[in-house]
Structure formats: structure tokens, C-alpha cells
Symmetry: C2
DNA sequence: TTAGTAAACTGAACAGTGTTCATAATAATG
DNA sequence: CATTATTATGAACACTGTTCAGTTTACTAA
């Protein structure tokens, strides 16, 4: 049986979710640069100050939006089915899903990995999605096909590669890119192949 | 013999340079986030409006600062001596210099490649520094050691890789990174090796 | 030297931003 | 119904980039 306090907390939680939803639609409609606390208040038909009763600041709202966006990424990565005997194919599928996610959710991606935090002093723990990538690398290492056995290092290097192409696509959409699909395919191939112990192509 | 008009233009040019210099020192001292037109005016001991007689807007100032920063990068890349018989080593040196430059000039780098332009509709032509990278890739392709002969695509893929690690280091300095030097070394190695036709290690 | 013109400069204002706080409206409780 | 919490808000603070009507300075022609 829920107490009154529990109910209060429930209401408070629902209100927070409503605020986050409206914030999300503003960003999806007009981009993250157009998102402001005042516009959010206008959308919610309340005073800007009211929002601060539920969130400490703007960054906290964006952080929570990014958080739920990345839960979606984790979910997608988990649905990629893992075949024991094909760790490389599995890894490549994960990388592809990561890039696709970043390009789809470019506003959230940009805030997460292309914006300097205001408090850059506190340590940052990797998201679950990153651990999934690490595990995929781990299976490759354990299969004995990678030159390096430093799982942490290899994962971070691979992550940097896919982050690179994702973020450049986002920030420079008008750069004279090669045919995107071909470029992404090639990118994933070479960054995985580069880690192989020995490589015989075709 | 310079006319009066030439002299006027010279003075105007010098004044612009002075403004840029002060802008640069503010950024170096307090970071790009702290840089504002009003603070620049304070530093120059003039009205904020005065700056607008020499620059159209804040972005133009930042663009010109970034431009000269990247000329410095071009210069550095040019000083790397090219040995005809070692195209791979040459390419790797360029990649290393690029990363080092990005980490040193992280504020300029961030503005250049990690910030969405306000006018993202106009086409963007690659900087000279990028062409140097392309040429390095070209020599590798012409040496017949790369699997793909699509110079444009390979260059962009490699660029994305080094941009990835550079930008992640900048934006997530407190991420639990592997030992930086080892990670960079490995990163450059695998991203180049992945492009090789055949790979026999050690 | 002086009057008139052109160039250079600026204070104030506009329209925004994130955030805070005393006050007012509302809801819950004794 | 009166009192106490809770919730909401208007106004303000301290910023931001940018514009523009005036003012000051510099240059030119008489």
C-alpha cells in the first residue's frame, strides 16, 4: 500500500518525465541549439523558475535526455545476436549500429561526446553501451585473432574510430564526403582488420 | 609608393590583427567558452560596438583564429620530411603530428571540428592540411600497398580515425583512458595497417 | 585658420540566455 | 476554519551577441 509520501514522489517523478518529454520534442523539432529553459517553460505553460523545482539546471535535463537516448542504444546493441563462431561479424554489426544511432540521434550524440562538460573534473564512468563494445572486443581477443590482448586499449581505439566518423558526419554535413555508405563500410572493415594478427584478403 | 588609401587599409589591417591577437590571448588564458565580445572589448579598452567595425560577428573572429591555427598545422606537416621509400612511416608521422596539434590547440580544434556551424548550408572546402594528408595517402596507394585505391575514401576514413581519438581526448579528459601514449601509437598502427593489402606482423 | 565633410567610435538599447529569490497562490493538516 | 507545508511565479541579476542614432575625431577644401 503506497503511503502519501510515495504518491507525492510518484507525482513528482511523472512531472519530471513530462518536462523531459517536452524538452525532447523541442530538441527534435528545432535542434539542441534552439533549446532554452525559457522556451521549455513556454511549451509547458509555466514559469521558467518552476522547472528549477524539478531540475537543478539545464545541463541536468540534457544529461537525463542523453542518458535515456543511450539506453536505447544499449537496447539496440543487445538485440544484435551473437554467433559464437563469428566474433568479427558480431563486432562489426555493433560498430555499424553505433554509427547509425549517432547519426539518427545527432543532437543527443553531440551533447554527449562533442560538448565540453562544465564540470570536467569529476571522473566519468563509461556507459553500458561502451561495455557491450568492450565485450565484443573481448570475444575477439579470446578467439586469438587480435594482435593486441589489451582489451581496454583496443576497445578505446575502435571506439575513437567510429566516434570519429560519426561526429564528423554530424558536424560537417556539407563536407565533400565520399559516398557515405561505402565510406562507412570501408571504415569499419579497416579498423577491425587493422587489429588482426594476420590478414589475407579476398 | 603607397597611396593614402593603401595606408588606411594597412592601418585597418593592423588593427584587425591586434584584435585577433587579443582574442587569442583571452582564449589561451581562459578558454574558448569564456571568450565574449564584451570581454574582448574590455581587453582592447574600447566599446563592444567598435569591434563590429572590423569584424562582422564573433564567428568571423573565431574562424580567422582557427584559420591561422591551421596554417600552423600545415606548416608543421610540411616540415615532416618525406622519404620516397617509406610512405607508411611518412603517413604515420603526419597522423601523429595531427593528433599532437589538436591536443595542443584544443580550443581551436574544438571550434573547427566539434562545433556546428551557424550556416551549415554552404559547402565546405577542405583545408590545405587535409590535402597534405591526402597526398600522403596517395603515395601509399601509388606504392601499391593499400587494399583500396580510392584515395578520397581512404583519406577520409583515416582522418575520421585520428579526429576521433583527438576529439575524445579533448572532450572527455577524465575518461579512464588507457595509457595515452600507448593508445595513440596503437591507434595509428592499426588504422594504417588495416588499409594494407596483406599484413604479416613481426 | 576655418568650415564642411567623411571616417571612426561609443553609450544605450534590443532581444536573447541561465539562474535566483522574495512573494503569492494553492494544498494538506490540526 | 486557521495554520502550516508545498508549489508556483514575476521580477530581477548578470550575462550574451548585435544594432544604431548620435558624438567625437580626422581629414579636406576654401
Amino acid at each position: 500500500m503506497p503511503t502519501f509520501k510515495d504518491k507525492k514522489q510518484q507525482i513528482r517523478h511523472d512531472l519530471k518525465q513530462t518536462i523531459l518529454q517536452h524538452a525532447s520534442t523541442i530538441i527534435q523539432k528545432h535542434g539542441i541549439r534552439q533549446f532554452s529553459m525559457r522556451k521549455l517553460a513556454l511549451e509547458l505553460e509555466c514559469s521558467p523558475a518552476t522547472i528549477y523545482l524539478y531540475f537543478n539546471n539545464k545541463e541536468e535535463i540534457l544529461n537525463q535526455l542523453v542518458e535515456s537516448a543511450f539506453e536505447e542504444l544499449s537496447h539496440r546493441l543487445k538485440t544484435i545476436d551473437f554467433q559464437e563462431d563469428q566474433p568479427l561479424a558480431y563486432l562489426k554489426h555493433i560498430l555499424r549500429a553505433y554509427i547509425d544511432f549517432g547519426l539518427e540521434q545527432h543532437d543527443h550524440y553531440q551533447f554527449a561526446f562533442m560538448t565540453s562538460r562544465t564540470k570536467p573534473n569529476q571522473p566519468l564512468q563509461p556507459h553500458e553501451a561502451f561495455h557491450i563494445l568492450v565485450n565484443a572486443v573481448k570475444t575477439c581477443v579470446e578467439a586469438g585473432i587480435f594482435i593486441s590482448t589489451d582489451i581496454k586499449m583496443v576497445s578505446q581505439s575502435i571506439w575513437a574510430c567510429i566516434h570519429g566518423i560519426t561526429s564528423l558526419f554530424i558536424v560537417l554535413p556539407n563536407f565533400p564526403w565520399s559516398e557515405k555508405e561505402k565510406l562507412i563500410q570501408h571504415h569499419i572493415d579497416i579498423l577491425v582488420d587493422g587489429n588482426l594478427k594476420s590478414l589475407k584478403r579476398k
